[in-house]
């Protein structure tokens, strides 16, 4: 209120201070992580590390190190999760966008559940079932858990992508004699591709970052990067965990920087439907 009456240099100062505080709140923790990743020695109570170096990086990236194996596991799981999710989400998204469906509301509700219900009970019980049928600690088990969560996002985004394709183009191709499948393959799919790629990226990232499900279902044999990071942190090895965290940050921040290219208003409007 009183800001209205303040002289403009004063207001500029307030603006600058508020932005600086916000910048510190956001980048402070990230900067702290960078320091830890390159700290050779950092003892209480010094403000900054006493030695910087790459020793821990060599340790993380040594050929027989856990980190590279975990990175490989994480990426492999994420790729498989994307494949499984899209394989079922593309037909489902198309049906939701284009075809008349009975019990449409109930179906939409089912696809809302994994995002709207706490996932903990699911992970706990699926781990128990998977344990009995030998899926615990397997890549397949983790992929199935990731996919059941990820495909929901994929279905939403895919159905938005298909809905935004101009139906008259499809009609034109059908009138010219294309079969339904040809029309889908040559007209609908290419036009919806950007949205589908966006959903693939979402599912990939979600799988790459997933912790709780893997924590319950992946034990003892599947160690993804988030689990490795967690174990290093709990073991008090801040350098290793910071370097692993940095590896996890790269795709997250990369996607954040380009997100607006994918997250157009139509997709944003979808959230909460």
């Amino acid at each position: 209120m009183s800001a209205m009456t303040l002289p403009s240099p004063m207001r500029a100062l307030i603006r600058a201070v508020v932005l600086a505080l916000l910048a510190f709140a956001i980048f402070g923790p990230l900067l702290n992580l960078l320091l830890w990743a390159f700290a050779e020695r950092w003892y209480f109570p010094s403000k900054l590390p006493s030695d910087y170096g790459l020793t821990y990086w060599y340790r993380v990236f040594q050929p027989r190190g856990n980190a590279l194996a975990s990175l490989g596991t994480s990426i492999w799981i994420a790729v498989l999760t994307v494949l499984v999710s899209l394989a079922v989400a593309i037909p489902a998204g198309y049906a939701l966008a284009r075809l008349k469906l009975p019990w449409r509301g109930a179906i939409l509700l089912v696809f809302l559940l994994p995002q709207a219900v706490p996932n903990l009970p699911v992970y706990v019980n699926i781990a128990q079932v998977f344990y009995q049928i030998g899926l615990n600690g397997t890549i397949l088990g983790v992929v199935l858990v990731h996919a059941s969560h990820g495909l929901v996002l994929a279905v939403w985004i895919a159905s938005a992508a298909f809905a935004s394709v101009d139906a008259s183009l499809e009609e034109a191709s059908r009138n010219l004699g294309a079969s339904a499948l040809t029309c889908f393959r040559t007209v609908t799919l290419p036009l919806a591709a950007p949205g589908l790629i966006a959903s693939a990226i979402f599912v990939f990232l979600e799988s790459l970052d997933e912790f709780t499900g893997t924590y319950f279902v992946g034990v003892p044999d599947v160690t993804t990067l988030p689990l490795l990071m967690f174990n290093a942190t709990m073991g008090g090895n801040y350098q290793i965990s910071s370097i692993t965290a940095l590896l996890l940050l790269i795709p997250s921040i990369g996607f954040m920087l380009v997100v607006e290219r994918f997250l157009k208003a139509d997709v944003l409007a979808m959230v909460g439907r």
Binding site: N32, Y94, L108, V124, V129, A167, T233, M234
Partner: protein
């Protein structure tokens, strides 16, 4: 949106169901079924009959943690809402183009950072010897001796707000950007202050989006295991930590499931808001 339909409606319905069946099967088998199982296990005694003993035990051991969890998630949700309104509001109504541009670039860095990484970031940043205290001491704001670790409930709240506020802000700023500007301009021309415009004109129109973002955050935070485990693993702590403990240490699935169901009850409070709101939206969709 009308369908391309030229074919016979009944076969198209069949095709539609066939196309959607695999996705439904995956969600049904690997999400809905375990959820139902949770309810069964939580109410089933040793000889298979109905019992409430697991809930009695859960309340016996973990009432404090249940309240602690609720308090943390409610406080975090309120703070997330406040931060999101402030940032999205300035992005929409701010008059200083450069400040708006900087803010737009700045606020969303944590958007896709996973909870487990946010936990690790805060574990070092908020520690007694962490960067926050060094900066506060360096700038003379606190005495070195009064520096304290924030790695308790405050650390969890900070980690949650840091990670979730950008998400709600993104949704909210998107909704605000798609508003008709005439009302805002008219009010501004009549001399209304920006805070007034935000509260009286902008916020009522984006209430739904804000609510959806907050409820999604509320439910998500209830299920986060990594952040409390890394920042504040000792009692009192969040229920997720207790669930993990009951399973990994005691293999006590019944009590773990009772705790899970109690979390669901907490989430259901949020879901009531959510469904009421999305019900309104769904009608709007059907009318299109």
């Amino acid at each position: 949106m009308t369908s391309v339909a030229i074919d016979r409606p009944t076969t198209r319905r069949g095709i539609g169901l066939a196309l959607i069946a695999p996705a439904l099967a995956v969600v049904g088998l690997f999400f809905v079924a375990p959820l139902v199982m949770s309810a069964v296990v939580a109410f089933r005694g040793k000889d298979g009959d109905f019992t409430l003993e697991h809930f009695a035990k859960a309340f016996d051991f973990y009432t404090t943690d249940l309240l602690f969890t609720l308090a943390i998630v409610v406080i975090s949700t309120l703070l997330i809402g406040a931060v999101a309104i402030a940032i999205a509001g300035y992005l929409t109504l701010g008059e200083h183009p450069r400040a708006v541009a900087v803010l737009r670039w700045l606020y969303r860095w944590p958007l896709f950072i996973p909870f487990v990484v946010a936990g690790q970031l805060m574990r070092t940043f908020l520690a007694k010897n962490g960067m926050l205290n060094h900066v506060l001491i360096g700038s003379g704001l606190i005495e070195p001796l009064s520096a304290q670790s924030l790695l308790d409930w405050r650390g969890i709240v900070i980690a949650f707000v840091w990670k979730q506020a950008p998400f709600v802000t993104l949704l909210l700023a998107g909704a605000m950007a798609s508003l008709e500007t005439q009302h805002i301009e008219a009010a501004r021309n009549l001399g209304a202050r920006r805070l007034r415009v935000l509260v009286d004109i902008v916020l009522p129109q984006v209430r739904g989006t804000l609510l959806v973002g907050l409820v999604l955050s509320f439910v998500t935070m209830l299920s986060v295991l990594s952040v409390p485990l890394m920042i504040n693993p000792n009692s009192p702590t969040m229920v997720t930590v207790d669930v993990a403990y009951r399973i990994s240490t005691h293999a006590d699935y019944p009590v773990a499931n009772a705790l899970c169901l109690l979390t669901l009850v907490l989430a259901a409070v949020g879901a009531v808001f959510y469904l009421r709101h999305s019900g309104v939206r769904a009608e709007g969709q059907a009318g299109r």
